[in-house]
């Protein structure tokens, strides 16, 4: 369990620095179990910062969303840092961005939190659909302790834990300036069972499965906008000349979009699951991302977001890369 007092103190200290613009963390949301991103511009803003198993959101997206309006002649650019509260997986997103030089190391202050796993909001909603006044979750020894209006329930971790946390290999941020609490040793291992099950099906079954998923897509691009690694200035689907993907919403364009989105994250996706959580139509996008993650691990022995000094996967090569598919 993370000591919230320690977190708030660290945030206060960071915000007080002259070279820090703001720190982004979590606060309680407006209803139910909601937790929402919170911005501290002032030390006193830090008092509302929390950390609980509900803090599932990947805040690494916010430094990438900073708008840089054109400057007037006598204006100096704002070079102050942005503080980000990160879990193990979110820290990998920052590492990956640093690796791609989307950010410089001196642009961010990373406040790391060793994380024992967060809950899946959809599973939680299904189990406790009611809306109470005082809703909270704490991590117990091997369960979650849920409080709704003074009443407490305990529930096994497996039932609520987010899919990504069940196989988390990096619970402690691999890069941080300040670490709240003690490091946690990784005990879990990625097994890609869900992916392998789908792989085993016939071509026809696989397509029928994905056809049903892609048909639903409304192309709101929430998956793209919520993703910390999707930070292109102009996304390929917004391009008009040439217009690779048409705007009309049908199976053909939806498939093209979903496959290309997954491909553009090849070797970059760190598996935070933000896209799938943001998807209003519940398309299992992580199944695509995980598949690519699995393949690049097998083909190129590469894992995204663990070494800021390494070169991005698709921008480098080894002469002996596998090529049995080449005629």
């Amino acid at each position: 369990m993370v000591d919230e007092k320690k977190l708030q103190d660290a945030v206060k200290k960071t915000v007080s620095r002259d070279d820090v613009k703001y720190v982004v963390g979590y606060e309680k949301g407006t209803y139910g179990f909601q937790v929402t991103p919170s911005f501290a511009y002032d030390p006193k803003d830090a008092d509302k910062f929390i950390f609980s198993p509900l803090c599932v959101y990947n805040l690494a997206v916010f430094p990438m969303l900073e708008e840089k309006p054109p400057l007037r002649k006598d204006q100096e650019p704002d070079t102050r840092k942005i503080g980000v509260v990160v879990k193990g997986c979110d820290a990998r997103a920052i590492v990956q961005i640093l690796q791609e030089k989307g950010l410089n190391r001196e642009d961010v202050v990373i406040i790391g939190i060793p994380c024992t796993g967060v809950v899946d909001p959809k599973k939680l909603q299904a189990q406790f659909p009611e809306n109470g006044k005082n809703m909270d979750i704490k991590t117990g020894k091997d369960n979650f302790i849920i409080t709704i209006d003074e009443k407490t329930h305990t529930i096994a971790q497996d039932k609520l834990l987010d899919e990504k946390c069940k196989h988390c290999e990096y619970p402690t941020p691999i890069l941080y300036d300040i670490l709240i609490g003690d490091e946690i040793k990784a005990t879990k291992k990625e097994d890609y069972k869900e992916i392998e099950d789908l792989e085993k099906k016939s071509m026809k079954e696989k397509w029928e499965y994905w056809e049903k998923q892609f048909e639903r897509c409304i192309r709101c691009y929430a998956c793209r906008n919520a993703c910390p690694l999707c930070y292109c200035k102009e996304c390929m689907v917004d391009q008009l000349s040439p217009q690779w993907v048409r705007r009309s919403v049908n199976l053909s364009e939806n498939t093209a979009w979903n496959l290309l989105r997954a491909f553009h994250l090849a070797g970059r996706c760190i598996g935070c699951g933000q896209c799938e959580r943001s998807c209003p139509m519940d398309i299992p996008l992580m199944q695509l991302n995980k598949k690519i993650e699995k393949e690049i691990k097998e083909l190129f022995d590469y894992i995204a977001g663990i070494d800021p000094e390494e070169k991005p996967l698709l921008a480098m090569f080894k002469p002996d890369d596998p090529e049995e598919f080449i005629l």
Binding site: L198, E211, A256, L314
Partner: protein, 153 residues
């Protein structure tokens, strides 16, 4: 002899003729195709060639877009490893296509619809062989129907 209408002629040729788009690199594969032509080596006319400067130029979006617009298969031709005019383009293309093929397979689209080959400027024979094989493979797979644009208008 009676004049046959086009629609009837269509019915006679029932055999499926695949439509294959080839992205061939300017320095090797395209020259290889040229050599096959000047050497009068026969190969199936199903391949429609688009010349690119390097196989590394081939963005996966080209492949997906070709499949959307009615191609039944895509062939990407580059220089042999180490021979790339730009030193590393074909190596990068190799990585990209390896991932793309796995992704397509996972989505239920036969990865054999997207092929890659190394053909040098001196390998006219190999080029013809490759095109023959790819055409046969795709003929067997049948028309690409998964996410072809239907252009209902």
């Amino acid at each position: 002899m009676k004049y046959k209408k086009w629609s009837e002629a269509d019915k006679i040729i029932e055999k499926f003729e695949p439509n294959i788009i080839g992205f061939l690199c300017n320095w090797c594969s395209y020259a290889g195709a040229d050599l096959a032509g000047t050497s009068r080596i026969q190969y199936p006319p199903n391949l429609k060639v688009i010349r690119v400067m390097c196989s590394g130029r081939v963005n996966p979006i080209f492949v997906i877009n070709a499949l959307q617009q009615g191609a039944d298969g895509v062939l990407i031709g580059g220089c042999h490893p180490g021979d790339c005019h730009y030193e590393r383009g074909n190596y990068l293309a190799r990585r990209r296509m390896a991932v793309l093929k796995k992704l397509l397979e996972y989505a239920g689209i036969d990865p054999n619809r997207v092929r890659m080959t190394w053909v040098s400027a001196a390998e006219g024979n190999k080029f013809a062989e490759v095109v023959k094989q790819v055409t046969e493979d795709i003929r067997e797979l049948g028309p690409m129907q998964h996410f072809k644009r239907d252009n209902t208008w």
